[in-house]
Symmetry: C2
Subunit: 344 residues, 2 copies
């Protein structure tokens, strides 16, 4: 088999974590016997500097027909356009702690052990993409953004979340804020779609309560469905649960299964260029890409290699080190994972 991946390093720590992930992916290709082409393109500030556009046509053309996009990070420009251009409406964010890192969570270990949450976030609509502007009236100058959802947009992401719940523990929590935002009836629409999924229990939950329950009792959740803005906020809380936002991956897919793979963290300007970023979020996104391709063995080997390196005690600086743990920079951690892959 042959895969073509487009790497979009972007800004901040983006190039460092994409670099680490590409190295690992190339190594896996050799080991597992699939062929791999990596194309690079610009996004965000570097794209703007070169083409005067955060997501230039050149970049979208390179992505066209690829088997996956491996994305680093950008401050703001480019990512929203990229998601919308390819209709990546499905954003998948698994939150599962590494057993060996339970003590990195700010939660008590027994609250975290066994947590296994899958966020399904609608990614190309809602308030990020609705009518917006700045203007003024008799009351003065104001700005506005519109949270707008077509019913079919909610229904199509609901179907994805319901299928995921069906494959998992059959429990779907739906984030909504219908006591203040009743015109966007998430609960009702999801419950209608759920009639086709008799094995799945649907629980609507107010987003404020959901944020609280995520911290109070994360184990009670299986799949959490949320719109674009609420999904953004809720899934970041997952970072505090597992011990570092640097650990969490994400996949953004369209209905054809074409996807963009990235960590959920941002550009981390404070540590950019120092070579100390945690690459495990982006490497975790590589695992999601391999799974999406059906390369299950490669995905499993990679996960096991990461777990062995963590078990040996290696940690990047974002994970407050204790006791016998060994500080590793991005490159060292990457080399160690590659070594483990080779030994399997």
């Amino acid at each position: 088999k042959a895969y073509r991946v487009v790497a979009l390093p972007g800004e901040g720590i983006g190039p460092e974590v994409v670099d680490a992930s590409v190295k690992i992916l190339q190594h896996l290709a050799k080991l597992e016997g699939f062929s791999l082409i990596i194309d690079y393109a610009l996004i965000g500030q570097p794209a703007f500097n070169e083409f005067g556009n955060f997501f230039p046509t050149q970049t979208s053309q390179v992505c066209e027909g690829a088997d996956g996009i491996l994305f680093g990070a950008v401050t703001k420009g480019g990512i929203l356009e990229l998601r919308q251009h390819f209709d990546f409406f499905i954003n998948i964010r698994p939150v599962r702690p590494f057993e060996i890192l339970l003590d990195k969570s700010s939660l008590q270990p027994h609250k975290i052990q066994g947590v296994d949450i899958l966020f399904v976030r609608e990614l190309i609509s809602g308030i990020y993409f609705g009518p917006s502007g700045r203007t003024e009236d008799d009351n003065g100058a104001y700005g506005y953004h519109t949270m707008k959802y077509y019913d079919w947009q909610i229904r199509r992401i609901a179907k994805v979340a319901l299928s995921k719940a069906k494959e998992r523990r059959g429990f779907l929590t739906v984030a909504h804020k219908e006591n203040a935002l009743p015109q966007i009836p998430w609960s009702h629409l999801v419950q209608e779609e759920a009639e086709q999924f008799p094995d799945v229990t649907v629980e609507p939950m107010l987003v404020d309560n959901l944020a609280m329950q995520l911290v109070r009792e994360p184990k009670r959740f299986d799949v959490i469905l949320a719109g674009n803005l609420f999904g953004d906020i809720l899934s970041d809380i997952g970072g505090a649960l597992v011990g570092s936002i640097g650990l969490l991956p994400s996949a953004s897919l369209n209905e054809h299964g074409f996807g963009l793979y990235e960590a959920i963290h941002g550009t981390a300007p404070d540590i950019a260029g120092k070579g100390i970023a945690n690459p495990l979020g982006t490497i975790g996104a590589v695992i999601l890409m391999l799974q999406q391709w059906g390369e299950i063995q490669a995905a499993t080997s990679l996960l096991q290699a990461i777990e062995r390196v963590l078990t040996q005690g290696y940690r990047t600086a974002d994970l407050a080190l204790q006791g016998q743990e060994i500080l590793a920079n991005t490159e060292t951690l990457t080399e160690l994972i590659i070594e483990q892959l080779s030994e399997q």
Copy 2:
């Protein structure tokens, strides 16, 4: 001195926790020698049943000219209208754990000990109150809500948050989402207002990151300023930090200092009518009301009485009981607090 308080019990556990708070307030009035009139009025479902309106004119008239409104809870109808009617744009939500309840937090005790956060939430604008509706176009049926902020609305709540920060540790974090919602420039406007507050450091923070940091390192925060929707979500996380949402109070004020005092929890339909609700959120709101009146001694006595009852081991059912702790229902806890007040 003489105060007139309007009690609006509302729905669910609202009447139970308001009842507890009124008893305590009446007792305090006797002890501290101020006179007190309590008027009752309807809001929410009971108001609708009686007057066909969730916030009827009858109720707003009773509130007019009072010294404070003591509010229980409603499912949805009435509270938003009430807040807007009296221009309660300032919502104050202190988050400080009781030392003796540190083990109730899902966070590790050392992460919680010493946490002292003040949320300042804009309460009568933003997406809750912007243009909204349901309609359809060529793409199908859709619903929308508009997040709209006049610059002056942001500036006036910024001034409140800046003054609070100045009286406290001088550190103000501003929630925003400008990488996706750039038309509402919270950071910029707050920084402009901050020029009048040279002692206060302003830190803008993306709301997704803020939700994560609140769980990861709550001690780093002093005052957190947020718009209506973000403030709702972020402050609920405070409930998981202190061990139960049932513990947190809130005050909503207009520019004249007239205010509405309530717990931040909702109607809790699952336990309503059982007499087991935790009244400490609403009783905490009474403390905020006493402080607002300048009745500092009464406020301090009440806080100390609560702390002593907790130190004796009494807990309502929302606080998972352990060891020597004694389960108390709403009424018992209230009686115990009154006893402690009398012994002071």
